[in-house]
Amino acid sequence: MAFVNLKNKLIQVKIVYYGPGRGGKTTNLEYINRKFQHRINSEMVTVKTHGDRTLFFDFLPFDVGLVNGYQIKIQLYTVPGQVKYDATRRLVLRGVDGIVFVADGMLVRRETNIQSLRNLQENLASYKKSLRTLPWVLQYNKIDLKEQGIPMMPIEMLEQDLNQESPRPYFPASALEGTNVVATLKKIITLTIASIRKELL
């Protein structure tokens, strides 16, 4: 639910990183925070448990600059990935404009990816939203683990599991090393702004 302030010529946009627990959602935001420190005027907000897992959400406001004379302020959020925090995941999704689904590329996480995507669809439905109409992209994370001999899913398998119905852009990535983190972010920002523009015109 982007808000357009015609007085200040400012558009606020909400993008949520969704996916299974320990998949790398927070690591994406941490990388963005380090990489674009000059564009971020505030500290990254994290609500964590003692075990350093996301309890509620991480939040990072990010200035994109001017688009058609409007200042665009992107609000990046992550959800808590652990299954038990479903109520808080639903709260964070409220008013979402664009989604990055961060899948865990490890073979052992195949089923948890599928469950998390199903959970996303259910939670969006509670706001009468759907992945069919919302801008979203996929990120297949942890490609760096392949070098350590950890069994990983081939891209074809991830695509077949998660990206069959009206395929969306996807990015093999390493959130830890920063590979394709910025490409993922750029893509979702472009798609989300295009969607808002279409809606307002």
Binding site: M1, K7, V45, V47, F59, Q75, L91, G95, I196
Partner: protein
């Protein structure tokens, strides 16, 4: 779904918040939607807060407290207020989509603040409710 407020609407909202709250001693007031977007914010010029983080946390906090209320069989809690040593924060729901947050010091009583907030909310409802019905 996106929504828009123009200069006239925002000026009207800011006039209400200034005359009812800032001019009566409130340090900072911001109107947000439940997604965590800031519609407008005003302060008395003394202190600058990280308002975007505050708005995100306030929307999340309000959502969490509402969910707690439902679990124990309440529709919602009527008073949402956090007391600090020097600064206090008060939340007031305007409609299902909008929230008014005020930050104030100990020089204002909670009762007076609640009265002024209630008056502001009545004025704001008229401006924001058509928006809630049509666009959100």
């Amino acid at each position: 779904m996106s929504y828009t407020l123009d200069q006239k609407q925002l000026d009207r909202i800011e006039d209400i918040l200034k005359s009812e709250l800032i001019d009566n001693g409130v340090r900072c007031v911001f109107l947000i939607d439940m997604a965590g977007n800031i519609i407008t914010n005003l302060d008395n010029g003394e202190k600058q807060h990280d308002i975007y983080s505050l708005a995100a946390l306030a929307a999340g906090n309000f959502g969490a407290v509402s969910a707690m209320a439902k679990i124990i069989g309440e529709n919602e809690f009527s008073l949402l207020f956090h007391k600090g040593k020097k600064e206090n924060i008060h939340f007031n729901k305007i409609s299902s989509e909008f929230l008014l947050i005020t930050i104030f010091g100990n020089d204002i009583s909670l009762g007076f603040l609640r009265m002024k907030v209630a008056e502001s909310v009545e004025h704001l409802k008229g401006l924001l409710e058509p928006l809630s019905r049509e666009h959100l």
